[in-house]
Protein backbone atom coordinates (compact mmCIF):
# COMPACT_ATOMS: atom_id res chain seq x y z
CA UNK A 1 0.00 0.00 0.00
CA UNK A 2 1.44 3.32 -1.00
CA UNK A 3 0.79 6.73 0.36
CA UNK A 4 -0.28 9.17 -2.31
CA UNK A 5 0.92 12.27 -0.48
CA UNK A 6 3.20 12.55 2.49
CA UNK A 7 1.84 13.70 5.81
CA UNK A 8 3.80 15.13 8.71
CA UNK A 9 1.86 12.98 11.15
CA UNK A 10 3.83 9.92 12.21
CA UNK A 11 2.61 6.35 12.59
CA UNK A 12 1.57 5.42 9.06
CA UNK A 13 3.61 2.24 8.90
CA UNK A 14 2.76 1.06 12.39
CA UNK A 15 -1.00 1.64 12.32
CA UNK A 16 -1.49 0.45 8.76
CA UNK A 17 0.61 -2.60 9.53
CA UNK A 18 -1.42 -3.53 12.61
CA UNK A 19 -4.65 -2.88 10.73
CA UNK A 20 -3.68 -5.13 7.83
CA UNK A 21 -2.31 -7.86 10.08
CA UNK A 22 -5.47 -8.15 12.19
CA UNK A 23 -7.71 -7.74 9.15
CA UNK A 24 -5.90 -10.60 7.43
CA UNK A 25 -6.30 -13.03 10.30
CA UNK A 26 -9.89 -12.16 11.15
CA UNK A 27 -11.43 -11.40 7.75
CA UNK A 28 -9.19 -11.99 4.72
CA UNK A 29 -7.89 -15.49 5.39
CA UNK A 30 -11.32 -16.89 6.36
CA UNK A 31 -12.88 -15.28 3.29
CA UNK A 32 -10.10 -16.63 1.10
CA UNK A 33 -10.73 -20.11 2.44
CA UNK A 34 -14.38 -19.73 1.49
CA UNK A 35 -13.32 -18.83 -2.05
CA UNK A 36 -10.83 -21.72 -2.20
CA UNK A 37 -13.40 -24.19 -0.92
CA UNK A 38 -16.02 -22.95 -3.38
CA UNK A 39 -13.63 -23.32 -6.30
CA UNK A 40 -13.56 -27.07 -5.66
CA UNK A 41 -17.30 -27.31 -6.12
CA UNK A 42 -18.63 -28.16 -9.55
CA UNK A 43 -21.40 -26.13 -11.14
CA UNK A 44 -23.71 -29.17 -11.34
CA UNK A 45 -23.24 -29.82 -7.63
CA UNK A 46 -24.08 -26.21 -6.81
CA UNK A 47 -27.25 -26.25 -8.90
CA UNK A 48 -28.30 -29.62 -7.49
CA UNK A 49 -27.86 -28.37 -3.92
CA UNK A 50 -29.74 -25.11 -4.20
CA UNK A 51 -32.62 -26.56 -6.20
CA UNK A 52 -33.41 -29.18 -3.60
CA UNK A 53 -37.06 -28.75 -2.62
CA UNK A 54 -36.27 -28.32 1.04
CA UNK A 55 -33.65 -25.65 0.32
CA UNK A 56 -35.95 -23.76 -2.03
CA UNK A 57 -38.69 -23.88 0.59
CA UNK A 58 -36.28 -22.43 3.15
CA UNK A 59 -35.40 -19.56 0.81
CA UNK A 60 -39.11 -18.81 0.48
CA UNK A 61 -39.66 -18.89 4.25
CA UNK A 62 -36.58 -16.74 4.95
CA UNK A 63 -37.28 -14.08 2.36
CA UNK A 64 -41.01 -13.91 3.05
CA UNK A 65 -40.70 -13.62 6.85
CA UNK A 66 -37.82 -11.14 6.61
CA UNK A 67 -39.81 -9.02 4.18
CA UNK A 68 -43.00 -9.00 6.26
CA UNK A 69 -41.14 -8.29 9.51
CA UNK A 70 -39.12 -5.45 7.96
CA UNK A 71 -42.28 -3.95 6.46
CA UNK A 72 -43.95 -3.91 9.88
CA UNK A 73 -40.81 -2.29 11.25
CA UNK A 74 -40.82 0.25 8.41
CA UNK A 75 -44.25 1.52 9.48
CA UNK A 76 -43.64 1.22 13.23
CA UNK A 77 -40.17 2.71 12.87
CA UNK A 78 -41.51 5.84 11.20
CA UNK A 79 -44.21 6.20 13.88
CA UNK A 80 -41.70 5.70 16.71
CA UNK A 81 -39.19 8.12 15.21
CA UNK A 82 -41.95 10.69 14.67
CA UNK A 83 -43.20 10.36 18.23
CA UNK A 84 -39.69 10.57 19.70
CA UNK A 85 -38.71 13.64 17.68
CA UNK A 86 -41.89 15.68 17.49
CA UNK A 87 -43.63 15.15 20.82
CA UNK A 88 -42.77 15.48 24.48
CA UNK A 89 -44.37 12.99 26.85
CA UNK A 90 -43.58 11.22 30.11
CA UNK A 91 -40.94 8.45 30.02
CA UNK A 92 -39.67 9.65 26.65
CA UNK A 93 -36.00 9.03 27.47
CA UNK A 94 -36.82 5.56 28.72
CA UNK A 95 -38.66 4.72 25.50
CA UNK A 96 -35.76 6.10 23.48
CA UNK A 97 -33.32 3.90 25.40
CA UNK A 98 -35.57 0.83 25.13
CA UNK A 99 -35.43 0.99 21.32
CA UNK A 100 -31.85 -0.21 21.56
CA UNK A 101 -32.77 -3.34 23.55
CA UNK A 102 -32.65 -5.73 20.58
CA UNK A 103 -28.98 -4.79 20.10
CA UNK A 104 -28.16 -5.35 23.77
CA UNK A 105 -30.21 -8.44 24.55
CA UNK A 106 -28.61 -11.70 23.37
CA UNK A 107 -30.70 -13.16 20.56
CA UNK A 108 -31.05 -16.53 22.28
CA UNK A 109 -32.62 -14.85 25.30
CA UNK A 110 -35.03 -12.94 23.07
CA UNK A 111 -35.81 -16.20 21.32
CA UNK A 112 -36.77 -18.20 24.40
CA UNK A 113 -38.66 -15.27 25.94
CA UNK A 114 -40.75 -14.71 22.80
CA UNK A 115 -41.35 -18.45 22.52
CA UNK A 116 -42.62 -18.64 26.11
CA UNK A 117 -44.84 -15.60 25.48
CA UNK A 118 -46.38 -16.75 22.22
CA UNK A 119 -46.73 -20.48 22.88
CA UNK A 120 -50.30 -21.65 23.56
CA UNK A 121 -49.54 -21.63 27.29
CA UNK A 122 -48.03 -18.14 27.19
CA UNK A 123 -49.65 -14.81 27.89
CA UNK A 124 -49.99 -13.61 24.29
CA UNK A 125 -50.17 -17.06 22.70
CA UNK A 126 -52.96 -18.07 25.06
CA UNK A 127 -54.99 -15.04 24.06
CA UNK A 128 -54.65 -15.70 20.34
CA UNK A 129 -55.19 -19.43 20.79
CA UNK A 130 -58.79 -18.66 21.77
CA UNK A 131 -59.30 -17.39 18.23
CA UNK A 132 -57.52 -20.38 16.75
CA UNK A 133 -54.39 -18.41 15.87
CA UNK A 134 -51.09 -20.09 16.62
CA UNK A 135 -48.01 -17.88 16.84
CA UNK A 136 -45.09 -19.90 18.18
CA UNK A 137 -43.91 -22.73 15.92
CA UNK A 138 -45.49 -21.14 12.83
CA UNK A 139 -44.26 -18.58 10.31
CA UNK A 140 -46.08 -15.98 12.37
CA UNK A 141 -43.69 -16.79 15.22
CA UNK A 142 -40.67 -16.29 12.96
CA UNK A 143 -42.08 -12.91 11.94
CA UNK A 144 -42.55 -11.91 15.60
CA UNK A 145 -38.93 -12.77 16.38
CA UNK A 146 -37.69 -10.87 13.32
CA UNK A 147 -39.78 -7.81 14.20
CA UNK A 148 -38.07 -7.79 17.60
CA UNK A 149 -34.61 -8.04 16.00
CA UNK A 150 -35.29 -5.30 13.45
CA UNK A 151 -36.95 -2.62 15.60
CA UNK A 152 -33.96 -0.26 16.01
CA UNK A 153 -32.96 -0.01 12.35
CA UNK A 154 -35.71 2.16 10.86
CA UNK A 155 -36.13 4.27 14.02
CA UNK A 156 -32.43 5.10 14.17
CA UNK A 157 -32.29 5.85 10.44
CA UNK A 158 -35.30 8.19 10.39
CA UNK A 159 -34.72 10.00 13.72
CA UNK A 160 -31.75 12.18 12.64
CA UNK A 161 -33.48 13.17 9.38
CA UNK A 162 -36.60 14.29 11.23
CA UNK A 163 -34.48 16.23 13.71
CA UNK A 164 -32.69 18.12 10.93
CA UNK A 165 -35.82 18.80 8.91
CA UNK A 166 -36.19 22.53 8.39
CA UNK A 167 -39.48 23.59 10.04
CA UNK A 168 -39.85 26.59 7.73
CA UNK A 169 -41.28 24.43 4.91
CA UNK A 170 -43.94 23.04 7.22
CA UNK A 171 -44.72 26.55 8.44
CA UNK A 172 -44.92 27.92 4.90
CA UNK A 173 -47.27 25.13 3.85
CA UNK A 174 -49.35 25.68 6.95
CA UNK A 175 -49.60 29.42 6.29
CA UNK A 176 -50.64 28.67 2.72
CA UNK A 177 -53.50 26.61 4.17
CA UNK A 178 -52.33 23.02 3.79
CA UNK A 179 -53.85 20.57 6.24
CA UNK A 180 -51.56 18.66 8.60
CA UNK A 181 -52.17 15.38 6.79
CA UNK A 182 -51.31 17.05 3.50
CA UNK A 183 -48.17 18.58 4.99
CA UNK A 184 -47.06 15.18 6.24
CA UNK A 185 -47.59 13.33 2.96
CA UNK A 186 -46.38 16.12 0.65
CA UNK A 187 -43.50 17.63 2.61
CA UNK A 188 -42.27 15.43 5.41
CA UNK A 189 -42.83 11.98 3.94
CA UNK A 190 -40.71 12.50 0.79
CA UNK A 191 -37.87 13.75 3.01
CA UNK A 192 -37.80 10.75 5.32
CA UNK A 193 -38.55 7.99 2.83
CA UNK A 194 -34.90 7.44 1.69
CA UNK A 195 -33.76 7.14 5.31
CA UNK A 196 -36.67 4.86 6.11
CA UNK A 197 -35.81 2.63 3.13
CA UNK A 198 -32.18 2.51 4.27
CA UNK A 199 -33.37 1.31 7.67
CA UNK A 200 -35.68 -1.17 5.98
CA UNK A 201 -32.81 -2.57 3.93
CA UNK A 202 -30.52 -2.92 6.93
CA UNK A 203 -33.27 -4.63 8.93
CA UNK A 204 -34.04 -6.94 6.00
CA UNK A 205 -30.38 -7.92 5.68
CA UNK A 206 -30.15 -8.60 9.39
CA UNK A 207 -33.38 -10.64 9.37
CA UNK A 208 -32.21 -12.81 6.47
CA UNK A 209 -29.20 -13.96 8.44
CA UNK A 210 -30.81 -14.08 11.87
CA UNK A 211 -30.52 -17.39 13.65
CA UNK A 212 -30.47 -17.14 17.44
CA UNK A 213 -33.90 -15.74 18.08
CA UNK A 214 -35.64 -17.71 15.32
CA UNK A 215 -34.54 -21.29 16.08
CA UNK A 216 -36.52 -21.43 19.30
CA UNK A 217 -39.77 -19.91 18.09
CA UNK A 218 -39.84 -21.44 14.59
CA UNK A 219 -40.36 -25.08 15.45
CA UNK A 220 -38.10 -25.81 12.47
CA UNK A 221 -40.48 -27.98 10.47
CA UNK A 222 -39.02 -28.67 7.01
CA UNK A 223 -40.87 -26.86 4.17
CA UNK A 224 -42.87 -24.76 6.66
CA UNK A 225 -40.82 -23.03 9.33
CA UNK A 226 -37.27 -23.94 8.41
CA UNK A 227 -35.17 -20.85 7.65
CA UNK A 228 -32.08 -20.99 5.45
CA UNK A 229 -29.50 -20.34 8.22
CA UNK A 230 -30.95 -23.37 10.00
CA UNK A 231 -30.45 -25.56 6.91
CA UNK A 232 -26.84 -24.40 6.75
CA UNK A 233 -26.46 -25.29 10.42
CA UNK A 234 -27.90 -28.79 10.01
CA UNK A 235 -25.70 -29.46 6.97
CA UNK A 236 -22.73 -28.47 9.12
CA UNK A 237 -23.79 -30.80 11.88
CA UNK A 238 -23.84 -33.61 9.33
CA UNK A 239 -20.35 -32.52 8.18
CA UNK A 240 -21.70 -31.80 4.69
CA UNK A 241 -19.53 -28.73 4.23
CA UNK A 242 -20.05 -28.60 0.46
CA UNK A 243 -23.82 -28.19 0.70
CA UNK A 244 -23.52 -25.79 3.61
CA UNK A 245 -21.08 -23.59 1.69
CA UNK A 246 -23.19 -23.62 -1.46
CA UNK A 247 -26.33 -22.51 0.38
CA UNK A 248 -24.30 -19.96 2.33
CA UNK A 249 -23.07 -18.47 -0.95
CA UNK A 250 -26.63 -17.79 -2.06
CA UNK A 251 -27.33 -16.04 1.24
CA UNK A 252 -24.09 -14.06 0.94
CA UNK A 253 -25.02 -12.87 -2.53
CA UNK A 254 -28.50 -11.91 -1.30
CA UNK A 255 -27.09 -9.87 1.58
CA UNK A 256 -24.53 -8.15 -0.68
CA UNK A 257 -27.26 -7.19 -3.13
CA UNK A 258 -29.32 -5.80 -0.24
CA UNK A 259 -26.32 -3.87 1.02
CA UNK A 260 -25.58 -2.52 -2.45
CA UNK A 261 -29.15 -1.26 -2.82
CA UNK A 262 -28.97 0.33 0.64
CA UNK A 263 -25.77 2.13 -0.33
CA UNK A 264 -27.38 3.31 -3.54
CA UNK A 265 -30.33 4.82 -1.66
CA UNK A 266 -27.98 6.27 0.94
CA UNK A 267 -25.66 7.99 -1.53
CA UNK A 268 -28.65 9.50 -3.38
CA UNK A 269 -29.94 10.57 -0.02
CA UNK A 270 -26.74 12.40 0.97
CA UNK A 271 -26.58 14.01 -2.47
CA UNK A 272 -30.08 15.42 -1.94
CA UNK A 273 -29.19 16.59 1.57
CA UNK A 274 -26.10 18.33 0.27
CA UNK A 275 -28.18 20.13 -2.35
CA UNK A 276 -26.98 18.38 -5.49
CA UNK A 277 -29.09 16.30 -7.88
Amino acid sequence: MKRTNRSVIPGFGLTTGITLAILSVVVLIPLASLVVFTSHLSWDEIVATITRDRVLASFRVSFLTAFVASSVNLVMGIILAWVLVKYTFPLKRLVDGMIELPFALPTAVAGIALTALTADTGLIGGFFAKFGIKIAFTQLGIIVALIFIGIPFVVRAVQPVLEKLDPSYEEAASVLGASRTRIFWKIIFPEIIPAALTGFGLAFGRCLGEYGSVVFIAGNKPFETEITPLIIMSELQEYDYASATTIALVMLIASFVTLFLVNLVQSRNTKILKGGV
Binding site: V27, L80, M98, A104, A113, Y211, Y241, M251
Partner: protein, 276 residues
Protein backbone atom coordinates in the same frame (compact mmCIF):
# COMPACT_ATOMS: atom_id res chain seq x y z
CA UNK B 1 -58.03 26.58 13.42
CA UNK B 2 -59.39 25.34 16.72
CA UNK B 3 -60.64 22.14 15.12
CA UNK B 4 -57.23 21.69 13.56
CA UNK B 5 -55.40 21.77 16.90
CA UNK B 6 -57.79 19.33 18.58
CA UNK B 7 -57.41 16.91 15.71
CA UNK B 8 -53.62 17.20 15.88
CA UNK B 9 -53.77 16.58 19.62
CA UNK B 10 -55.79 13.45 18.97
CA UNK B 11 -53.23 12.34 16.40
CA UNK B 12 -50.46 13.01 18.90
CA UNK B 13 -51.93 10.83 21.63
CA UNK B 14 -53.00 8.10 19.24
CA UNK B 15 -49.44 7.87 17.89
CA UNK B 16 -47.93 7.96 21.38
CA UNK B 17 -50.31 5.21 22.51
CA UNK B 18 -49.42 3.04 19.52
CA UNK B 19 -45.74 3.50 20.34
CA UNK B 20 -46.23 2.62 23.99
CA UNK B 21 -48.27 -0.49 23.20
CA UNK B 22 -45.73 -1.63 20.63
CA UNK B 23 -42.77 -1.10 22.97
CA UNK B 24 -44.60 -2.74 25.88
CA UNK B 25 -45.62 -5.82 23.87
CA UNK B 26 -42.46 -6.30 21.83
CA UNK B 27 -39.72 -5.19 24.20
CA UNK B 28 -40.87 -4.91 27.80
CA UNK B 29 -43.00 -8.06 27.96
CA UNK B 30 -40.19 -10.41 26.80
CA UNK B 31 -37.92 -8.97 29.51
CA UNK B 32 -40.57 -9.46 32.19
CA UNK B 33 -41.27 -12.97 30.91
CA UNK B 34 -37.65 -13.97 31.45
CA UNK B 35 -37.74 -12.78 35.06
CA UNK B 36 -41.13 -14.37 35.82
CA UNK B 37 -40.19 -17.71 34.30
CA UNK B 38 -36.84 -17.68 36.10
CA UNK B 39 -38.47 -17.30 39.52
CA UNK B 40 -41.43 -19.61 38.83
CA UNK B 41 -40.22 -22.21 41.30
CA UNK B 42 -38.91 -19.80 43.86
CA UNK B 43 -35.60 -18.33 44.86
CA UNK B 44 -33.85 -21.58 45.78
CA UNK B 45 -34.33 -23.20 42.38
CA UNK B 46 -33.23 -19.94 40.75
CA UNK B 47 -30.09 -19.75 42.86
CA UNK B 48 -29.28 -23.38 42.19
CA UNK B 49 -29.40 -22.81 38.44
CA UNK B 50 -27.26 -19.70 38.64
CA UNK B 51 -24.50 -21.11 40.85
CA UNK B 52 -24.43 -24.43 38.98
CA UNK B 53 -20.89 -25.37 37.93
CA UNK B 54 -21.76 -25.40 34.24
CA UNK B 55 -23.36 -21.96 34.49
CA UNK B 56 -20.35 -20.51 36.29
CA UNK B 57 -18.07 -21.99 33.66
CA UNK B 58 -20.26 -20.55 30.90
CA UNK B 59 -20.11 -17.11 32.54
CA UNK B 60 -16.32 -17.29 32.67
CA UNK B 61 -16.03 -18.38 29.04
CA UNK B 62 -18.38 -15.59 27.93
CA UNK B 63 -16.31 -13.06 29.88
CA UNK B 64 -13.11 -14.45 28.36
CA UNK B 65 -14.41 -14.22 24.79
CA UNK B 66 -15.80 -10.73 25.42
CA UNK B 67 -12.54 -9.45 26.94
CA UNK B 68 -10.53 -10.82 24.02
CA UNK B 69 -12.94 -9.28 21.52
CA UNK B 70 -12.80 -5.88 23.22
CA UNK B 71 -8.97 -5.90 23.44
CA UNK B 72 -8.34 -7.01 19.85
CA UNK B 73 -11.00 -4.70 18.45
CA UNK B 74 -9.60 -1.81 20.49
CA UNK B 75 -6.11 -2.32 19.10
CA UNK B 76 -7.56 -2.75 15.64
CA UNK B 77 -10.05 0.09 15.94
CA UNK B 78 -7.48 2.64 17.11
CA UNK B 79 -4.93 1.59 14.45
CA UNK B 80 -7.47 1.50 11.64
CA UNK B 81 -8.98 4.84 12.63
CA UNK B 82 -5.54 6.46 12.76
CA UNK B 83 -4.38 4.93 9.49
CA UNK B 84 -7.60 5.66 7.61
CA UNK B 85 -8.15 9.24 8.77
CA UNK B 86 -4.61 10.64 9.01
CA UNK B 87 -3.24 9.40 5.71
CA UNK B 88 -4.23 9.08 2.11
CA UNK B 89 -3.34 5.90 0.35
CA UNK B 90 -4.59 3.66 -2.43
CA UNK B 91 -7.05 0.95 -1.48
CA UNK B 92 -8.61 2.91 1.34
CA UNK B 93 -12.14 2.27 0.10
CA UNK B 94 -11.59 -1.47 -0.20
CA UNK B 95 -10.14 -1.49 3.31
CA UNK B 96 -13.20 0.28 4.72
CA UNK B 97 -15.53 -2.14 2.95
CA UNK B 98 -13.60 -5.15 4.25
CA UNK B 99 -13.74 -3.83 7.81
CA UNK B 100 -17.51 -3.45 7.63
CA UNK B 101 -18.04 -6.81 5.98
CA UNK B 102 -18.31 -8.99 9.13
CA UNK B 103 -21.50 -7.32 10.38
CA UNK B 104 -23.29 -7.83 7.07
CA UNK B 105 -22.61 -11.55 7.07
CA UNK B 106 -25.03 -13.94 8.76
CA UNK B 107 -23.58 -15.27 12.05
CA UNK B 108 -23.99 -18.83 10.78
CA UNK B 109 -21.91 -17.99 7.70
CA UNK B 110 -19.32 -16.33 9.96
CA UNK B 111 -19.02 -19.59 11.84
CA UNK B 112 -18.89 -21.53 8.58
CA UNK B 113 -15.93 -19.62 7.14
CA UNK B 114 -13.86 -20.25 10.28
CA UNK B 115 -14.83 -23.90 10.10
CA UNK B 116 -13.59 -23.97 6.50
CA UNK B 117 -10.36 -22.18 7.49
CA UNK B 118 -9.35 -24.23 10.50
CA UNK B 119 -11.50 -27.38 10.31
CA UNK B 120 -10.62 -30.88 9.24
CA UNK B 121 -10.88 -30.31 5.48
CA UNK B 122 -8.71 -27.19 5.55
CA UNK B 123 -5.17 -27.21 4.11
CA UNK B 124 -4.09 -25.57 7.36
CA UNK B 125 -5.42 -28.45 9.45
CA UNK B 126 -2.34 -30.77 9.29
CA UNK B 127 -0.08 -27.86 10.27
CA UNK B 128 -2.29 -26.96 13.22
CA UNK B 129 -2.38 -30.60 14.26
CA UNK B 130 1.41 -30.85 14.18
CA UNK B 131 1.61 -27.80 16.40
CA UNK B 132 -1.10 -29.29 18.61
CA UNK B 133 -3.35 -26.26 18.26
CA UNK B 134 -7.09 -26.82 18.41
CA UNK B 135 -9.22 -23.99 17.09
CA UNK B 136 -12.50 -25.47 15.86
CA UNK B 137 -14.73 -26.91 18.61
CA UNK B 138 -12.44 -25.30 21.18
CA UNK B 139 -12.07 -21.99 23.00
CA UNK B 140 -9.86 -20.27 20.35
CA UNK B 141 -12.59 -20.79 17.76
CA UNK B 142 -15.17 -19.19 20.03
CA UNK B 143 -12.87 -16.23 20.65
CA UNK B 144 -12.15 -15.81 16.92
CA UNK B 145 -15.85 -15.96 16.04
CA UNK B 146 -16.63 -13.37 18.70
CA UNK B 147 -13.91 -11.06 17.39
CA UNK B 148 -15.24 -11.49 13.85
CA UNK B 149 -18.86 -10.57 14.59
CA UNK B 150 -17.84 -7.48 16.60
CA UNK B 151 -14.98 -6.53 14.30
CA UNK B 152 -15.95 -3.01 13.10
CA UNK B 153 -17.74 -1.92 16.27
CA UNK B 154 -14.97 0.29 17.67
CA UNK B 155 -13.37 1.59 14.46
CA UNK B 156 -16.82 2.49 13.13
CA UNK B 157 -17.41 4.85 16.08
CA UNK B 158 -13.94 6.45 15.90
CA UNK B 159 -13.55 7.09 12.16
CA UNK B 160 -16.42 9.61 11.72
CA UNK B 161 -15.31 11.63 14.77
CA UNK B 162 -11.71 11.81 13.57
CA UNK B 163 -12.81 12.60 10.03
CA UNK B 164 -14.99 15.51 11.10
CA UNK B 165 -12.20 16.98 13.26
CA UNK B 166 -9.61 17.11 10.51
CA UNK B 167 -5.87 16.79 11.05
CA UNK B 168 -4.80 20.36 11.83
CA UNK B 169 -4.13 19.84 15.53
CA UNK B 170 -2.14 16.65 14.96
CA UNK B 171 -0.12 18.29 12.18
CA UNK B 172 0.70 21.27 14.40
CA UNK B 173 1.79 18.97 17.20
CA UNK B 174 3.93 16.92 14.81
CA UNK B 175 5.60 20.05 13.40
CA UNK B 176 6.42 21.15 16.93
CA UNK B 177 8.22 17.88 17.35
CA UNK B 178 5.81 15.69 19.28
CA UNK B 179 6.11 11.95 18.75
CA UNK B 180 3.30 9.74 17.52
CA UNK B 181 2.21 8.37 20.90
CA UNK B 182 2.35 11.78 22.54
CA UNK B 183 0.16 13.24 19.79
CA UNK B 184 -2.29 10.39 20.17
CA UNK B 185 -2.42 10.61 23.96
CA UNK B 186 -2.51 14.38 24.37
CA UNK B 187 -4.20 15.63 21.22
CA UNK B 188 -6.31 12.93 19.63
CA UNK B 189 -7.56 10.70 22.41
CA UNK B 190 -9.35 13.39 24.47
CA UNK B 191 -11.57 14.05 21.44
CA UNK B 192 -12.44 10.45 20.73
CA UNK B 193 -12.76 9.31 24.36
CA UNK B 194 -16.56 9.15 24.34
CA UNK B 195 -16.86 7.63 20.91
CA UNK B 196 -14.32 5.02 21.99
CA UNK B 197 -16.23 4.12 25.16
CA UNK B 198 -19.42 3.94 23.13
CA UNK B 199 -17.78 1.49 20.74
CA UNK B 200 -16.51 -0.62 23.65
CA UNK B 201 -20.02 -0.85 25.10
CA UNK B 202 -21.54 -1.90 21.75
CA UNK B 203 -18.74 -4.42 21.25
CA UNK B 204 -19.32 -5.88 24.73
CA UNK B 205 -23.06 -6.16 24.13
CA UNK B 206 -22.67 -8.08 20.90
CA UNK B 207 -19.77 -10.20 22.13
CA UNK B 208 -21.53 -11.52 25.24
CA UNK B 209 -24.68 -12.35 23.30
CA UNK B 210 -23.27 -13.86 20.12
CA UNK B 211 -25.04 -17.10 19.39
CA UNK B 212 -24.99 -18.27 15.78
CA UNK B 213 -21.30 -18.00 14.95
CA UNK B 214 -20.22 -19.33 18.32
CA UNK B 215 -22.74 -22.14 18.03
CA UNK B 216 -21.17 -23.37 14.79
CA UNK B 217 -17.67 -23.40 16.26
CA UNK B 218 -18.32 -24.54 19.78
CA UNK B 219 -19.25 -28.20 19.51
CA UNK B 220 -21.43 -27.62 22.59
CA UNK B 221 -19.26 -29.34 25.16
CA UNK B 222 -20.72 -28.55 28.54
CA UNK B 223 -18.20 -27.14 30.96
CA UNK B 224 -15.72 -26.71 28.10
CA UNK B 225 -16.91 -24.75 25.11
CA UNK B 226 -20.29 -23.52 26.29
CA UNK B 227 -20.88 -19.80 26.48
CA UNK B 228 -23.84 -18.34 28.36
CA UNK B 229 -26.19 -18.07 25.34
CA UNK B 230 -25.29 -21.63 24.29
CA UNK B 231 -25.94 -22.83 27.83
CA UNK B 232 -29.37 -21.21 27.67
CA UNK B 233 -30.04 -23.10 24.43
CA UNK B 234 -29.00 -26.49 25.83
CA UNK B 235 -31.13 -26.08 28.96
CA UNK B 236 -34.13 -24.90 26.94
CA UNK B 237 -33.87 -27.79 24.47
CA UNK B 238 -33.72 -30.20 27.41
CA UNK B 239 -37.03 -28.74 28.60
CA UNK B 240 -35.32 -27.41 31.74
CA UNK B 241 -37.25 -24.18 31.39
CA UNK B 242 -36.69 -22.69 34.84
CA UNK B 243 -32.88 -23.09 34.75
CA UNK B 244 -32.84 -21.85 31.14
CA UNK B 245 -34.64 -18.65 32.10
CA UNK B 246 -32.56 -18.29 35.27
CA UNK B 247 -29.37 -18.31 33.18
CA UNK B 248 -31.05 -16.00 30.66
CA UNK B 249 -31.83 -13.57 33.47
CA UNK B 250 -28.07 -13.06 33.99
CA UNK B 251 -27.88 -11.92 30.38
CA UNK B 252 -30.95 -9.71 30.83
CA UNK B 253 -29.25 -7.92 33.74
CA UNK B 254 -26.11 -7.46 31.63
CA UNK B 255 -28.20 -6.11 28.74
CA UNK B 256 -29.90 -3.59 31.03
CA UNK B 257 -26.53 -2.45 32.39
CA UNK B 258 -25.32 -2.03 28.81
CA UNK B 259 -28.38 0.03 27.88
CA UNK B 260 -27.87 2.31 30.89
CA UNK B 261 -24.15 2.74 30.15
CA UNK B 262 -24.95 3.46 26.53
CA UNK B 263 -27.37 6.26 27.31
CA UNK B 264 -25.09 7.69 30.02
CA UNK B 265 -22.17 7.78 27.58
CA UNK B 266 -24.32 9.24 24.85
CA UNK B 267 -25.72 11.88 27.18
CA UNK B 268 -22.48 12.96 28.88
CA UNK B 269 -20.51 12.68 25.66
CA UNK B 270 -23.01 14.87 23.86
CA UNK B 271 -23.01 17.49 26.62
CA UNK B 272 -19.21 17.55 26.76
CA UNK B 273 -18.86 18.00 23.02
CA UNK B 274 -21.46 20.77 23.04
CA UNK B 275 -19.57 22.65 25.77
CA UNK B 276 -16.31 22.43 23.87
Amino acid sequence: MNKETTSSKVTKWVLISISFIFIALMLLLPLITVIIEAFKQGWDVYKQAVVDDYTVHAVLLTVEATVFAVIINTVFGLSAAWSLTKFNFKGKKILTTLIDLPVTVSPIIAGLIFLLTFGRQSPLFPILQDLDIKIVFAVPGIVLATIFVTFPFISRELIPVLESRGNDEEEAAALMGAGGFTIFRKVTFPHIKWAFLYGVVLCTARAMGEFGAVSVLSGHLRGKTNTLPLHVEILFNEFQYVPAFAVASILVVMAIIILILRSVIEYTGMRKSNVR
